[in-house]
Symmetry: C2
Subunit: 185 residues, 2 copies
DNA sequence: GTCTATAGATCGATAGAC
DNA sequence: GTCTATCGATCTATAGAC
């Protein structure tokens, strides 16, 4: 498929897919070049820091997307339950019912963890805290809310692992349904 | 640390640690050689199929360990709740409260998934089914038991992701405590 | 900005001496 | 069985023409 790349940002989606499919180590520059439609010269023009900078840019883009589409609604929606419902819908679409992995979660399990430790930590802490806030506003006691938030974020990550391992989206979909039921109760 | 390697099997623990720490792609033969204490010649003597065969041997070893220490107790313990309690204790030790990742889960998220799809599928299906059996014997209806088993296996995997991402064992320990409470209820 | 060519290191894997 | 030496391929990254 043809790609129009005029600035660095245009290459990010293709970069993200390559890192998701092959991991940090598995994403070779030749593969990246092929999938972005950019020669190595262009890649190093946009990302002088090489593969590290490409992955960092992808992580930053993911963080921005989640901040806008998941965390902010959790914190700001007048009805916290609506914010959580919004999160679940967004997450189900984003992860394609578990058939598309969470790049940050995969990095957390792999060799790239130390390299991007701060970004990874920030992503999960922000998610957990935003969800915890929503649960407090929904009426839960603070300590209970924090633990529930942690449980839900972990459940989503685990559902992705299981869905990918079994090769079917059903475990992910069931997990989303369980979370929805738990929250709306 | 010195290693005594007389047969193929003696190299498996070191191999497993290298694959766990660096992933399939990240585990280079020179790193494997260093950590097992075996030269490349010896490695290819024991594993003629190269890195693929090494990883396959590790996965087989993991499967055997879980079969003996986790799945069999789940299926055979006269008191199914005791079997589940045994599973949780074994898992907490094995994964070092989330500071040691699940190799099969990490492979499921990474590039190695396609290569070892069958082993990965079998591992998670066996775990889910053995736990489901135990829950049926504990009195749950079959459909409810299957869903609970899936939920628990996913919760463990998600707890590992979160613990690794946040760099602390607490999320994993809390998840184990929640599962225990859910089952014993 | 984008390309080709290529450097320099490291990859997985093999050969052959011992 | 284990080692050293080394193969060809591939890796990340750079240089320089256009």
């Amino acid at each position: 498929m043809p790609k129009i790349v005029r600035e660095r940002h245009d290459a990010i989606p293709a970069l993200a897919e390559v890192f998701r499919e092959h991991g940090f180590e598995g994403a070779s520059l030749s593969l990246i070049s092929e999938r972005t439609g950019l020669g190595k010269g262009s890649l190093y023009h946009f990302f002088p820091g090489g593969k590290d900078e490409m992955a960092a840019a992808v992580l930053a883009d993911v963080a921005t997307w989640f901040e806008s589409n998941v965390f902010a609604p959790l914190r700001n929606d007048a009805d916290p339950r609506k914010g959580i419902g919004h999160m679940l819908t967004a997450v189900e679409t984003y992860f394609q019912s578990g058939m598309r992995i969470c790049l940050v979660g995969a990095f957390a399990l792999g060799d790239a963890r130390d390299r991007f430790a701060e970004s990874i930590h920030r992503y999960f802490a922000a998610w957990r805290d935003a969800l915890g806030d929503a649960l407090v506003r929904a009426g839960l006691e603070r300590k209970e809310a924090k633990e529930r938030a942690e449980e839900i974020v972990a459940a989503i990550q685990g559902a992705i692992v299981l869905a990918r391992a079994l090769g079917e989206p059903a475990p992910f979909r069931r997990a989303m349904r369980r979370i929805r039921a738990m929250v709306m109760r």
